[in-house]
């Protein structure tokens, strides 16, 4: 009998201990799932704004490589820099990526700088992309090489990715609403990156304003450029931390907001702001209906009972 009690006690103790361990393990696991460790050898591009001369070769090469539609003006027509676009991203009246071009270069006349500065825009290929995490059909994926690619065959055209992207990059092909198609830079993944070759824009750039390499090497290179030329660069690498880190990194000779960058992009991945909310969604969807149906039935039962009692009294 005594033995039995001890056994039972031990059993309960063991069970409790196991439960505690299990809950701790579970905690660790969920944490690990939350903090994605990134692909260590993924590639990136370092864009040096001090080097770009605004030749638009990258735009031309991208158009050809990706088989994009004919542009409105030739790529060696530099009047595009003076165009005003009321619907530019971030409230700026400047050119932005559209369904016709995955990359564009904009010109900035910055006071105190004796020559214009140019800045290239394309998908930054985030380490934890907001487009990917916001897509409920998993049309996006981040490849180990570093590209954020898109699968049109599963896309339903909800355009949540366009709202989620902190850089206003994905665009929608409005001409094909019944066959939804998001248009955005894919890092030339299919044609070049997966074979280890640089994207078309990098290869064509005459000034080597675009440097292709492992993201870790590029960060080192960027730091070294800042260190050796402290007067030439602002001491910041845009994309090192922005939006949780991006594959495309930037160096600038002036404060980044003066050359069209959004300096208010948070340093955390966008998913971190909605992770807590998303974790309660299953609870709301599964538990609430059962719970409130139960409440409803209970209160109805009470009503029905009192109605029944009233009926009995009347009789």
């Amino acid at each position: 009998m005594k033995n039995k009690i001890i056994n039972r006690r031990n059993f309960i103790k063991g069970g409790l201990g196991g439960a505690v361990v299990a809950s701790q393990l579970k905690g660790k696991e969920s944490q690990a799932a939350g903090a994605f460790d990134h692909y260590p050898d993924s590639m990136g591009v370092l864009v040096d704004v001090t080097r770009c001369v605004g030749c638009r070769s990258c735009e031309a090469a991208c158009n050809q490589e990706q088989g994009l539609p004919e542009p409105e003006k030739p790529f060696n027509d530099y009047s595009v820099f003076d165009e005003v676009h009321p619907h530019g991203g971030h409230g700026r009246e400047e050119r932005r990526t559209t369904e016709y071009n995955y990359t564009i270069v904009n010109k900035y006349n910055v006071p105190g700088v004796d020559h214009p500065l140019f800045r290239k825009i394309q998908c930054n290929h985030c380490l934890e992309p907001a487009c990917l995490t916001s897509c409920f059909v998993n049309a996006y994926s981040k490849t180990p090489e570093g590209a954020v690619v898109y699968d049109p065959t599963v896309c339903v055209g909800c355009r949540t990715c366009m709202i989620a992207c902190p850089f206003y990059v994905p665009t929608f092909k409005y001409g094909s609403a019944f066959k939804p198609r998001i248009m955005k830079c894919v890092f030339c993944h299919e044609t070049r990156l997966k074979e280890g070759r640089p994207p078309a824009c990098v290869e064509i750039c005459p000034q080597e304003a675009l440097t292709f390499g492992k993201r870790t090497d590029l960060l080192e290179m960027a730091k070294s450029r800042i260190r050796s030329n402290p007067d030439k660069y602002v001491d910041h690498i845009y994309g090192e931390k922005e939006a949780g880190g991006t594959a495309w990194l930037y160096l600038s000779p002036v404060e980044f907001d003066k050359v069209g960058f959004d300096v208010h992009v948070p340093h955390e991945p966008v998913i971190n702001f909605v992770r807590d909310f998303l974790s309660i969604v299953p609870m709301v969807l599964l538990i609430w209906p059962a719970l409130f149906t139960g409440f409803h039935l209970l209160s109805n039962r009470k009503d029905a009972k009192s109605q029944h009692d009233e009926d009995n009294q009347e009789v």
């Binding site: 619907h87 559209t98 016709y100 070759r197 750039c205 005459p206």
Partner: protein
Amino acid sequence: MSQGKNVQRTLCIIAVGSALFWSGLGYAMDASDAPEVITMDSLENHYDPVEFNHLEHTEMAACTDCHHHTLGIPPTNESCVKCHENSPEADVLSCGDCHLTDRFGIEALATLDDPQLYHRGTPGLKGAYHLNCVGCHQEVGGPIGCEDCHTMKDAGKKMFKAGKYAPVSKGEKGGH
């Protein structure tokens, strides 16, 4: 007598001075040894080759502006001097001997895996040409437009949608 001594001293100084001068030049390459014109054709896919007048440029720029430390002349850049003050004339002198054509190729990128490698950001050939040439041209007022130096081939026009490939439809394209 004292006048003769002075003349002797002056001659002596000239002799020693000129000896030092010529020996100084002895280890360095003379500009006249260099080719007069260099044909640059690394962009031949899209542009005609550029005939670079080397001789003309030796009169406008210092040799070390382009041949940083490979001519046996000490470089002017402070950081370079630290290692290359006494660097002898190199066996190879053309830009393409150090600046790779395939800068972002798999082999070139693999060299960065060597932690001992010091020059980690050496630009490729095209980058080296443009960064140095355009940089200097901007300073001295030389030509800086793409087509000031490069004549576009048909393939180039096709890529830039220029010339006979220029867009015909001028329709308004909105949306994003």
